[in-house]
Assembly symmetry: C2
Homo-oligomer: 246 residues x 2
């Protein structure tokens, strides 16, 4: 059991990549769409391309270049950008199919350890999503994967995208705690770095397959994070959370 345990009143989780496998889920949703509309791109490459526009789109909001918009709006714009690159004929694509594909981010499988790990962690700590997702998207994703959050915090509550400080600080304030009593659990060093700068405790979870077999980033902790775990079940072990009764 780590000393982290004694100070923490809330565990906030990055979700895309840390708790759920976005790449497989987006590719799974894209495959029939790409076939139906005869768009010639591998579904995993499509997922990677769509994901690659995620940070730049949020950056336009972070920089103040455009006012706050929810993540589903950015994801939809990015989807159309990627489809246009591959020569999609928007006149032929049913609006409902496009809207449905945009909801792929609400139907992503949790990593195999996630539900058991979260359920165990929840026995001892309040747990919540601390994601850049909009609340409705997180709600649907949580129901899809049976993620047992106590609360959904993050970007929409703060009207500010991570890694901007407000996203972390407003989440801590909303659960009524000072930053040093909240831990961020994330598979991304940059997210943890920003959280630590706000005073959060930090938990790195290794997700070496998040970006597929050729992943080069975030393979290892790059700073002395408070806790490092291979998955959320190991994290529950490290934090002394009891096993589930079967």
């Amino acid at each position: 059991m780590t000393t982290l345990l004694h100070h923490i009143g809330f565990l906030g989780f990055d979700v895309f990549g840390t708790v759920v496998d976005w790449r497989s889920g987006v590719a799974r949703a894209a495959r029939p769409f790409l076939e139906r509309y005869d768009i010639d791109v591998d579904p995993f490459d499509f997922a990677d391309e769509w994901r690659s526009l995620y940070q730049p789109a949020m950056q336009a909001v972070r920089s103040g270049e455009r006012p706050w918009v929810r993540l589903d709006v950015l994801q939809r714009e990015n989807l159309e950008t990627v489809l246009a690159r591959h020569g999609a004929d928007f006149g032929a694509i049913a609006g409902a199919d496009l809207a449905d594909l945009n909801r792929a981010w609400e139907r992503l499988d949790p990593w195999p350890d996630a539900v058991e790990g979260l359920t165990r962690l929840k026995q001892r700590f309040p747990i919540g999503a601390l994601s850049n997702s909009h609340i409705a998207g997180m709600l649907h994703l949580s129901r899809f994967g049976r993620l047992p959050w106590d609360a959904i915090l993050g970007a929409e509550i703060a009207r500010s995208y991570k890694p901007q400080p407000q996203a972390y600080l407003k989440s801590a304030e909303t659960v009524g705690l000072p930053p040093h009593e909240v831990a961020l659990v994330a598979a991304h060093n940059s997210d943890l770095q920003a959280a630590r700068a706000c005073g959060f405790r930090t938990v790195f979870v290794r997700r070496p397959q998040e970006h597929g077999p050729k992943q080069r980033t975030d393979l290892a902790p790059e700073h002395d994070w408070d806790v490092v775990a291979d998955n959320l079940i190991e994290l529950a072990d490290l934090l002394g959370c009891p096993q589930l009764s079967r």
Copy 2:
């Protein structure tokens, strides 16, 4: 099964009185405090007095007389008001005891049907708190009583107290639905009336003991609410939610 079922994408619940028994819980928390500080008032009367200041305090925010503040701030002010009326010696009262008593609202028992009813309803509908409570208070209350919310919405999200329209409308917007696809579940006719005026569907739950044995208000539905139920298990039955496997 009622026709309500076919249109609803989210069930939002009033919590104090509808899901949890605030009067018994506040009296339970107040009893040892009142004894320790020799304050001569029956704990149930104390709970009623504290509760009676709830609407006027929110009204000052609704009217714009004072800026938005979270419910725990109002409850703390009201607590001090009631204690002062009964001659409390604030110099003698430990700050920690006062803060702890204010958190009585986070340690209220669910009505006996609530957890089973919510768990069944959750199998078919996304469910959430649509309360005037602050999010942290609702989070603690939910963990105390094991209320299985998918999301916590309501006043703090909207920075607006029910029955102001914004509290309902912002909650619906946050879950990504038009008002007519959201239902409010409440034991209070006035709450349902305001929700209906915003376009919500309405579910009245009878809680004839919320204010104790002498309750005179909200004993019956005063309008043609879409659904009326005696408790949340009956509501799950009416909405065709399966029994829980044991």
